[in-house]
């Protein structure tokens, strides 16, 4: 049975509890913050367990890699506390259950994982992915179960993640290109936090994208557009990869004017916030985020995550921003017809 590899002393001796001090949803002073986190560490009741909205940010804010968010989720589950309402939590568990309805293409050593998100499978076409055409998997059998951290169901992750990795192992693949931050975050951050061995090399799709763009340099026509980037919550699990989004956009001539809610201060798409907290908080977060994008004079809103994209596309579209996934943006840059704008 897997357990969270968490060091009490790291938190106890922490000089600055940035995990909470930087939290965008709860206001703390240094004294109270440290004390509250120690309550969680010790398994006591804490307002943290009720009020955390699961935005994942503290995983990034903690400079010492001690997984405060996973700890909060563990404690919640131990105490039988729900984040989203119980029927919604169970719906997610049921919806993502393995049922043998997987799709496995012509697998090679290197495989693309579209997780359980059909939209991802639809994006991997054209020149950029030409050597990997057909080498793709899709289905609950290959789904990274990270989403259940939002619902404080770490037990589901502990049960399913080994099975998912075993499914990959059975295919004999050596490298898995994760088309979604959550997948890559699962096989790096979550797996290591629980001491699970990963039987393949996970590759972050933006690393792959940037490499391919460099190879296809001659085909690139700079887009010369201004955009705002919607950084997804799961990117907080892999903060060392955050720079890639900007690197790619620099490479293809997309300017990302500075805005308030960027990098460490970014705002999530708020879809989960809606489920957990209700209309008002989510609406407020979305409004602030979109207004911030508009202030930059951006034409496009660039997405990295299909869930953010389906949550915010219509909303940004109504305000005059063109929603597009970064993969489709790259395709346009090399002269291919970008995929459907969602």
């Amino acid at each position: 049975m897997y357990a969270l590899e968490f060091d009490e002393n790291v938190c106890a001796k922490c000089p600055s509890p940035d995990c909470l001090l930087k939290c965008q949803y709860m206001k703390w002073d240094k004294e109270t913050a440290h004390g509250e986190m120690m309550k969680v560490v010790r398994g006591e009741d804490s307002r943290l367990l009720k009020e955390c909205v699961t935005c994942y940010a503290c995983e990034e804010y903690c400079r010492r890699g001690n997984h405060p968010f996973y700890l909060i989720s563990e404690r919640r589950e131990e105490k039988g506390l729900y984040t989203a309402p119980r029927p919604i939590t169970n719906q997610w568990i049921n919806m993502t259950r393995m049922q043998g309805k997987q799709m496995v293409g012509k697998i090679t050593d290197r495989v693309l994982s579209s997780c359980f998100i059909p939209a991802l499978g639809g994006m991997v076409s054209g020149e950029i992915f030409k050597d990997l055409t057909g080498s793709i998997v899709f289905g609950a059998e290959f789904m990274c179960p990270a989403v259940h951290t939002h619902f404080a169901k770490m037990s589901v992750i502990k049960e399913r993640l080994p099975m998912v990795m075993e499914n990959f192992k059975k295919l004999g693949v050596k490298e898995v290109i994760c088309l979604h931050d959550e997948c890559y975050g699962t096989y790096t951050s979550i797996a290591s936090a629980y001491g699970m061995e990963v039987p393949f090399k996970p590759i972050y799709y933006m690393d792959f994208l940037l490499d391919r763009l460099k190879e296809l340099q001659d085909k690139i026509k700079p887009l010369n557009i201004k955009a705002a980037y919607q950084r997804p919550c799961s990117n907080r699990l892999i903060p060392d990869k955050h720079h890639l989004a900007k690197d790619i956009m620099d490479f293809i001539g997309v300017e990302l004017p500075e805005r308030e809610y960027q990098d460490e201060n970014c705002l999530c798409c708020a879809d989960i916030l809606r489920s957990i907290s209700g209309y008002r908080l989510a609406n407020d977060v979305q409004q602030r985020n979109i207004e911030d994008m508009l202030k930059t004079g951006a034409e496009y809103c660039v997405f990295n995550c299909p869930a953010c994209q389906s949550t915010l596309s219509e909303k940004v579209g109504k305000k005059g921003l063109k929603p597009i996934h970064i993969i489709d943006l790259c395709k346009i840059a090399i002269g291919e017809k970008g995929g459907a704008v969602r």
Binding site: A84, P85, P87, I88, N90, Q91, N94, M95, Y279
Partner: protein, 459 residues
């Protein structure tokens, strides 16, 4: 060629009547589970005059007549239990008049739901009617004749409540105008403030006359239509949730549904909440009100709103084409449902009954309820799918549905569009004086007993 056949040709022309084995076979049954009965003729009139002449002939020759739309009530109400003439009304398909300012339309006895929807979209896009989820070929006349419901029922009542006048050919052959049309050229009322004679025809399942014209209320059609889906796993909370929602007085349709598959719906009760508006502001205001109304359930973690990105288009479709899909789940092309009208507070008992019946009869179930008139009652549908090539399964479904109707009667509910056997169950339970009144009306309107005989009969 028989004399009757010859006479029918004289009335409707030779393309308007058939007695070939093929037409007779097809028109002897509907897509539900009841046994077929052969008619002797199938007739498709094109004018009220033709309808009248056929009815007069039927009276003379004492031949039964069964009027039909498309037969999608599924409870065998278009099956000619005593043979005779099946009258397919669908060739009377025109839209006669739209009174834009008074918001009503007058259609013929076979005008389909789909044609009216398309017509309004093309010519009066700011007007709509209460569209049911039945396939769009179904007729407006048949829908109101059996107290059907539609998207506007939560706001305005049964679709039959939306009738604004009728032209009926009585079983004796007289043509009768009902409501304001009986006094003048306007179709704004089916009865009030006269004695409401529409009650002699609405709900009688074709046993007291044939509708040749129907006046129907139209309603404002807003530019934006939106939907939210609230989910709970505690069935006992459903009626409280609905009470809070209906208190808002700002919703279009409210449906409550549950089904065991696909897996993501397992063990939950889903409340689809439709609302409309002309501006983003109106929509967001209503959305906020809806969320606020149910915030308490979110706080106790007993209920929450579902993300709808991939379901939204399907939910907003009118009519919902996906509903028919349930028929194909057992790869067999059929389903039938019992949809009694009952109190919202009885939801948990009915929900338990569906699951019990499905297990007892080994059939696949789905259930959907529609709120009527702000929650004064609801239509609770208990639906079972069957494989048409498996008669044993069809029989189990039939028995399950009969038991469902029995249960509804026990609970004090009213079966909706009952088949002829369920009608007998109703009449057995009915207050005896009410039954006497019902029989008296029927006897007097149809002295020869030729209109859809076998229905609403005591014997």
């Amino acid at each position: 060629m028989s004399d009757i056949f010859k006479s029918l040709i004289e009335i409707v022309g030779d393309r308007g009547v058939s007695n070939t084995p093929e037409e007779l076979w097809f028109y002897s049954r509907d897509p539900g589970v009841l046994a077929p009965h052969r008619p002797d003729y199938v007739v498709a009139p094109q004018t009220t005059d033709q309808v009248q002449k056929v009815v007069q002939l039927a009276n003379r020759e004492k031949v039964p007549i069964v009027p039909m739309g498309n037969g999608m009530a599924l409870t065998g109400l278009v099956i000619p239990l005593k043979g005779g003439i099946v009258m397919d009304m669908k060739r009377m398909n025109k839209i006669l008049e739209v009174n834009e300012k008074a918001r009503y339309v007058v259609v013929e006895g076979g005008t389909s739901q789909g044609v009216l929807k398309a017509y309004l979209q093309d010519h009066y896009p700011h007007l709509r009617h209460s569209l049911p989820d039945a396939p769009p070929v179904t007729t407006i006349a048949a829908n109101v004749a059996l107290h059907g419901q539609g998207r506007l029922t939560q706001q305005y009542g049964f679709n039959s409540d939306m009738v604004t006048g009728l032209e009926v050919v009585l079983p004796t052959g007289d043509i009768c105008k009902i409501g304001s049309p009986s006094l003048g050229p306007y179709w704004f009322s089916k009865g009030p403030t006269l004695p409401d004679l529409s009650g002699l025809f609405l709900g009688w399942l074709g046993t007291t006359g044939i509708f040749t014209k129907v006046g129907l209320k139209l309603y404002p059609n807003k530019k934006i239509r939106e939907v939210e889906l609230f989910v709970t796993d505690r069935v006992e909370l459903v009626s409280e949730i609905l009470y809070k929602l209906t208190h808002l007085e700002m919703l279009e349709d409210i449906n409550v549904w549950f089904q065991p598959k696909p897996l993501m719906f397992k063990d939950n009760y889903h409340i689809t909440i439709y609302f409309t508006g002309d501006t983003e502001e109106e929509i967001e205001f209503k959305r906020k009100m809806i969320w606020d109304a149910l915030q308490g359930f979110i706080d106790t973690k007993d209920g929450g709103f579902m993300g709808l990105q991939f379901m939204k288009e399907m939910l907003l479709e009118m009519p919902q084409r996906g509903i028919a899909d349930f028929a194909d789940v057992p790869k067999g092309g059929g389903f039938e449902y019992s949809g009694p009208i009952t109190l919202v507070a009885h939801f948990p008992r009915y929900a338990a009954k569906v699951i019990e019946l499905a297990a007892k009869y080994d059939v696949l179930y789905a259930s959907s309820a529609r709120i009527i008139s702000g929650g004064h009652s609801m239509m609770f549908s208990i639906s079972f799918a069957f494989n048409r090539a498996d008669p044993a399964m069809m029989n189990r479904v039939k028995n399950a549905l009969d038991e469902a109707t029995g249960f509804a009667l026990e609970m004090g509910g009213i079966p909706w569009k009952p088949n002829f056997m369920e009608q007998k169950m109703i009449m057995e339970k009915m207050d005896p004086n009410t039954l006497k009144l019902l029989q008296m009306v029927k006897r007097n309107l149809d002295p020869q007993g030729i209109m859809n005989p076998g229905n609403w009969e005591v014997n």
